[in-house]
Amino acid sequence: MDYAVRVEELRKVFGDVQALNGLSFSVDKGEIFGLIGPNGAGKTTALRIVSTLLLPTSGKVEVFGLDVVEQPEEVRKVLTYLPEEAGAYPNLSGREYLEFMAKFKARDKHELKEFVEEAAVISGLGERLKDKVKTYSKGMKRRLLVARALMTKPRLAVLDEPTSGLDVLHSYHVREIIKRYVKKHEVTVLLSSHNMLEVEYLCDRVALLNKGRIIAEGAPEELKEKFESANLEEVFAKVVKIA
């Protein structure tokens, strides 16, 4: 079967820091795959390599069969990336920002409009889209960026902590959107998160990362069974302790 993302023996070294140490996993088409792990485990580094921002020190990464090192430009056509810490141009209005981003993917005016309308729904920002981004709260900005990443219905959405900084209701809303998108538009999602509830609810499969490698992998249900835990939080604590 073809994978949406295939990561093999991935290593990344920053000077003295070994951020990724032989990381391997694969994401099936149309699934939501979650990377979880303690701070500094290498989640962001892995997602950045998949998104062609960083080059692997060694190993192989393919996105829909496209090599991220050999064909980065092709890879960029099929994915969108939501950085962990991201901003928008402060002097553009929310709508202008979305239009700016949509223009890179839209094939015509009609599609452009469609993308922006879609983003308006996802972000739930309504009338506030007319305001400049610099007047937004942290959560509003995040919703704008999540909407940006999903509005074009990319084949792969790489989302680094999509709901960080969002309140309970908006996190819930964003999760619903992600879930709906995957079903409706055949979007594959690769995300990272610190919120175990979210991961349990959203992800078809998760990989537990520690010190740059995977120490446990499977569907949330499987993992809970395997580690005799009531929830993923417990699994996380147990596995990290063992490792």
Binding site: F14, G15, R48, S51, T52, L53, L54, L55, E73, R76, K77, L79, T80, Y81, L82, P83, E85, A86, G87, A88, Y89, P90, M101, F104, K105, L145, R148
Partner: protein, 429 residues
């Protein structure tokens, strides 16, 4: 009343002083810059003095009397290289000047000796005139030093003999044309205003443009928009080109405004001081249309290279503030030629400095403007070619930087360097 201010100031100082770029830019730079400027200006004055000492003067003695001979000898005794020429027309004498490398021509008219002796004997108070022709070359502040030196020498000659037996009539030679009765000092005074304004304006324009470009990249980093931008389905070079084009458009508007202002400024002199009959346009000291185009191109390519350099530097900065202080390191390369070329012509500098000034691309808009005004269009073209080549190299480097992950990770290397220094320092102590 200002409770807690001490604590606040301490925090400010810590925060600012621990940024090595600010420390270097604010403290080290002026410490280096001014002694360097001093040395260079000193060296240039020295060079000017030497040039004067080797000043060649053509003397056309139509009188051939004893006082004429005496006066010529007097000039010689001050170390001035005097060459006597025997011609029949003034234009012939002027034509001979380049052969002797002379910048001054002194014409001693018929009846000079007789006139001088009559003054000395007290028979008349009308002094004998010598005609001095100074070549105006647009070289800089010390342009008319040669003529004033003749003035001074005549003064001291007079003191030796009697009250004012000799007077000086000043004339100017511009591009081989003789302007009767016009003091080279007047022409150079008029040109002076321009020779200060132009480098100053170019300096402001270049620094302003660099600020814009550096800020536009640093803003992407500070506002955390760069990562998203780099994962969009557009070429990395396109992103760079977009940044360059954005800043270039702003800068080009600046260059245009500069040119319009400069043109207006220059034309405001035409027809000024009609009493003296000095008209820069009539003297051919106002650029032609082609000249303006060349000045424009020169300015534009220099701007482009400055912008590309600013973009490269700002890639090393994590925010706008440190980007600003990083490009501060380029400013001496802009200020130095501007200040130097304000005071003097490049030909008056020692060879090593000439090479330095020529190597700095930001000197070239000034050099090209000067060359255009003096009618040396080919010099301006050469200068444009050099700066264009430099610009291509810088653009290539910027493109390389944007094509890799370095644009995102390069600042961390600097942090590592700092840690290494610290480790080294601590192991050494």
């Amino acid at each position: 009343m200002l409770k807690g201010i001490g604590n606040l100031v301490l925090k400010e100082l810590k925060e600012l002083m621990r940024d090595p770029k600010i420390l270097l830019g604010m403290v080290l730079m002026p410490l280096l810059m001014f002694p360097l400027m001093g040395t260079i200006i000193g060296a240039s004055m020295e060079a000017t003095k030497e040039k004067l000492a080797e000043m060649h003067v053509l003397v056309w003695d139509k009188d051939c009397g004893s006082y004429a001979k005496n006066f010529t000898e007097y000039l010689r005794s001050y170390g001035i290289r005097v060459h006597e020429v025997d011609v029949s027309k003034l234009s012939e004498a002027v034509a001979l000047m380049p052969d002797y490398n002379a910048t001054l021509l002194i014409e001693i008219p018929n009846g000079f000796s007789e006139n001088v002796s009559r003054v000395i004997e007290g028979n008349t108070t009308v002094s004998a005139k010598v005609e001095v022709y100074g070549v105006f070359s647009g070289s800089g502040m010390f342009e008319e030093v040669g003529v004033s030196m003749v003035d001074a020498l005549v003064e001291s000659y007079n003191r030796q003999k009697a009250p004012n037996p000799v007077g000086v009539e000043k004339n100017t030679i511009v591009k081989g044309e003789i302007l009767e009765g016009i003091d080279p000092g007047t022409v150079s005074g008029l040109m002076m205003a321009q020779s200060i304004t132009m480098p100053l304006t170019i300096m402001m324009l270049l620094t302003f443009a660099m600020q814009i470009a550096a800020t536009s990249v640093a803003m992407e980093k500070e506002e955390k928009t760069l990562e998203t931008l780099l994962t969009l389905p557009i070429g990395r070079f396109t992103i760079l080109a977009g940044k360059l084009a954005g800043s270039t458009i702003v800068a080009a508007v600046g260059a245009l405004a500069y040119l319009v202002g400069f043109q207006y400024y220059m034309s405001s002199f035409t027809g000024m001081i009609p009493a003296e009959g000095v008209d820069l346009a009539a003297l051919g000291l106002v650029p032609s249309m082609l000249g303006y185009v060349l000045i424009g191109i020169s300015l534009f390519v220099s701007l482009l290279s400055a912008l590309a350099l600013a973009i490269i530097l700002s890639a090393f900065a994590e925010n706008v503030r440190s980007a600003q202080s990083l490009i501060g390191f380029v400013y001496p390369l802009i200020f130095l030629p501007s200040f130097l070329l304000m005071y003097m012509d490049i030909s008056m500098l020692p060879l090593s400095l000439q090479i330095l000034i020529l190597a700095i691309p930001y000197s070239h808009p000034i050099l090209a403007s000067k060359a255009v005004i003096m009618g040396n269009l080919s010099t301006a073209v050469l200068s444009i070619i050099y700066v264009s080549a430099f610009t291509v190299v810088i653009l290539y480097a910027a493109a390389k930087l944007f094509a890799t992950e370095k644009i995102l990770t390069v600042k961390l290397r600097m942090k590592k360097l700092k840690i290494k220094w610290k480790r080294k320092a601590s192991t050494e102590s």
